[in-house]
Symmetry: C2
Subunit: 161 residues, 2 copies
């Protein structure tokens, strides 16, 4: 089958199939005499594998490793599990990060009248000095407290480095 049909039956766009081939995630497809890419059923299975893995949020790098393990009959399930759990950790980390942002914003929005008047705790928070904002959201400041002195230190003859 041609790339269009492979795309339709795998859920991966033709554009992406070519891209995956270009970056080495897939081995180059066979070609017809006129240069069209030709796909077999097993190619489509691999594409579905990729699609499903993308849906679960795996990076293309991880998918490459998973594909290799999938094709290796002598693999250890431990290797697969390791990749999956590392990804879960990453997902949990991101979720916590987003959750923290959402909570902060919800809190601020609750205290914003949301009317025609200009006063707004949301803008006040954004405009607040880093330290104050950091204290309010319970996240460490991005600037260490002694940064001010560091500037002077760097001006000295032989900065520590």
């Amino acid at each position: 089958m041609n790339i269009g049909e492979a795309a339709r039956s795998s859920g991966v766009s033709a554009k992406m199939i070519r891209h995956y081939e270009a970056i080495g995630l897939l081995s180059p497809a066979a070609r017809s005499r006129s240069g069209y890419r030709i796909y077999s059923d097993s190619d489509v299975y691999a594409l579905r594998f990729i699609r499903r893995a993308r849906d679960l949020g795996f990076s293309l790098h991880q998918i490459k490793q998973l594909l290799e393990l999938w094709r290796d009959r002598r693999r250890s399930s431990a290797d697969v599990k390791r990749i999956a759990l590392a990804h879960v950790d990453e997902l949990r980390r991101k979720i916590a990060e987003l959750e923290s942002m959402a909570r902060t914003l919800e809190h601020l929005a609750r205290h914003c009248h949301g009317d025609h008047r200009p006063e707004c705790p949301i803008l006040d928070d954004l405009a607040a000095p880093a330290g104050a904002a950091a204290r309010r959201t319970k996240r460490p400041s991005y600037a260490s407290p002694d940064k001010t002195d560091e500037r002077h230190a760097r001006r000295s003859p032989h900065p520590a480095r």
Copy 2:
């Protein structure tokens, strides 16, 4: 002050400050005779505002709007609140998506021995046709229960990933 000091005292890298200027998020900085960018305290406040907004996950586009509102004394807090709540919705949507991925993977990983043997439910899931995979994880899909066909629907629009 020069860009380096502005960067250190705002938490935004010099690289990014130049970039924000280039894309019009910031108006062009004043220059010294030798061409160095010069920043005032109020420029630093704006940079901190941007930094804080980035920490809360706002896109540069939203930040541009927030900056304009911040500077507009005749603003309506409703406009600010609208932007913030739209962002919260987006965050909640992403959280739900990641949460669903994480739950699916945790479920699969729990059933994977993770030893030297090749058998692995994780790979089995990835390799299975979409429908079957969804059924095996005991959830119609990682999205809402009434969207079993979402995988197909998502082919055209684009998922935020």
